[in-house]
Symmetry: C2
Subunit: 447 residues, 2 copies
Amino acid sequence: MGSDTPQKRSYFEASANFADGSDSPRAFLDRCIAEIEAREGDVQAFEYTNFDAARAAADAATERWQSGNQISPIDGMPVGVKDVMETADMPTGQGSPLFVGTETGRDCAAVVAMREAGAIMVGKTVTTEFAATHPGKTHNPWDLERTPGGSSSGSAAAVGCGMLAAGTGSQVIGSIIRPSGYCGAFGYKPSVGGINRGGSFDGFSQSCTGMIAASLAECWSLTREITSRTGGDAGYVGVTGPMEIPAARKPGRVAMLQTAGWANASDGAKAEWQRARDTMSAAGIDVQDRDSDKKIAAVEDAIANAMELSMTINAWEGRFPLDTYNRDMDASKLSESAHNRLKQAVGMTQDEFAGLLAERDRVRGVYATLNGEFDVCATLSAPGAAPKGLDWTGDPLFTVPTSLVGMPTVTLPVLADEGLPLGLQVIGHTNQDADLFANAGGILELF
Amino acid sequence: MGSDTPQKRSYFEASANFADGSDSPRAFLDRCIAEIEAREGDVQAFEYTNFDAARAAADAATERWQSGNQISPIDGMPVGVKDVMETADMPTGQGSPLFVGTETGRDCAAVVAMREAGAIMVGKTVTTEFAATHPGKTHNPWDLERTPGGSSSGSAAAVGCGMLAAGTGSQVIGSIIRPSGYCGAFGYKPSVGGINRGGSFDGFSQSCTGMIAASLAECWSLTREITSRTGGDAGYVGVTGPMEIPAARKPGRVAMLQTAGWANASDGAKAEWQRARDTMSAAGIDVQDRDSDKKIAAVEDAIANAMELSMTINAWEGRFPLDTYNRDMDASKLSESAHNRLKQAVGMTQDEFAGLLAERDRVRGVYATLNGEFDVCATLSAPGAAPKGLDWTGDPLFTVPTSLVGMPTVTLPVLADEGLPLGLQVIGHTNQDADLFANAGGILELF
């Protein structure tokens, strides 16, 4: 199986057969482990795995499903945990040589909640250094010479080729949507604050924990099983809505965004953007863009500088802990990009940061003018197929606007470039994540 | 000296004599260490100390001051770090038997910044368990049979008796202002988000890092030396204003608050509240209260339930990490109060939490109506002197409103009850911390 075309592996498809015993969580896990054993040597999606504990947990879930006592729809689901999120039974390495093998002894909030719902933490998935720029070891399962994208590299690669049904991610620039798109997975970045980040080494104000999975329904259920138990970030309610994915609903109006990424988009990607647009139009959806609608044009203008603005906000907010790592640990184990970010932060002033936050608020206000006008926005997940080479995780210009503005976004694996996966990103309105899923489901049915 | 009446030890008073060599950071530190050695057996303010490193740092600061090259006004200042804040050279125990001796290898953001400004981290000061309810070992230096207050017990006790010039604290209910008041120290809780909490085990949405010091000026300078380097919490600018304390300015109008604490206030404390009021009135300040002003009455009504509201918000937000400690560590090492908070959290729903946040927002809106009407509010730091016994850190009803509402507050050690210290709390408007200090300085001059 390892040499075949990558295939996602949906737990929700399998679980329909758990009650009659023709399939089971344990059998599903065994298929995942077989896929991992077949591909991991090439793909390298994991920093650590814990198969023995996973098998024991899957056996317990199997008993529950067979007696009709499953805890939740995700009971028994094999999940990978991005290696910036703490786990009681596995180390948390943060993608840095400074923290190889570091045991914190506790689960992060999201993992506590997923385990309470019965999900199985199979392993820790590779992240770029501190979920930032410097790449990890993972290869794209569709083409081993290409990047899987970052920073949630291991979760996207593992889900993209059916090693797991789902993996957690985090995104402050493009770290969920971009790798999900490159690896052919579904990805979901919630509204800012949407999933409790307690116990995740991820302190940026525009960052979010999110989900990468084999289906939209799995993204949604994992999220709600977490947020119903432990909410969002401190001070945030977190993602709300029905416990199961809202029914698909064809949107009435869609705003097609080009973003600053358009300038870098391949011809193939641009053609796919147009195909997505035509497909929606043909289905009777009113599709507008910057040329036909002034509010969309204003949003395009407002997000044009999203990358620089986000990177500068992140530099200031990331001074800690890089400053203490640089001074109190082995500074030679920090990447060049980490050193550069720290240097940038130390050169900034608090007043400059105040100006950046004010500009971010302004951009958020401009985006909010689309609320009530368009059900969702749509754009690409990236300017093309995953680039060749492992030393760069790809261009985030299509993904950074949602991180800056804080609205929820999903990527649907329905486009292609160079014969490789490309995502159609569907973007909702802040704190209306359930609406986004309904609309994204409606769009998905058109492809 | 250990048996004398406790005296605060101001670094800023001493530093006037550093240039001519008649005093020095090293000599100041030696006086602090002598005080610690005399009193620590009784007071027990520290979990760890690092005198050798402190002396070396003080010698370096001495050289800088003598050559006029001091980094900042706090260069060489001996500071204690509340033991929920990470330090690279000392363990971080969080007041819990689960974390005795835990080394994280890094400094929290505030400590990084203070060290960069030249301040000296002398030791880790005792906190209640997880900066919450269960008391630590510290005694009140004014009466060893009484509580120092909590949760920033060690910092308040150490500063109150001159073991240190300053200590850090954190407050989510009353954990800076209450112990500062009980121990005769100045205390400052900033506007919510005011000081970067990166690397502090303190994830509550209404919690703040703050300062306990021998003077208002030291509270202010420490804060600005931190925030000018590393700002506030992620997404917050942090405390802004001049680098040195704003000039004292007698306020024009002051709102006297009773809070829900009035019902528990001792006769002595009530008399002190009245004395404070009369002193301000006699100085020509227009002082109003709930009986004379409808907006104040509305605020008193809005904050009447601050304690229950705050405790319930904190319970939900504190589910993590208590849940994983309870499940993955030795649950018998969690206090009864921690178990009770976790039980409360597990029994709550996300919808209930949403209702609590909405109510908090409503209360914040009511308090905001005082902005432009009153320069500051004033009230007690506690309903009386520190209570006898070490099994309860005292009544937080006078302090919890500022935590809930998020406005900045200071306590001035100018009142007394039972011959023991009691604080006059002066409360400002959110994100106008510099204004608060100007007004508090003006009030201080009246006593």
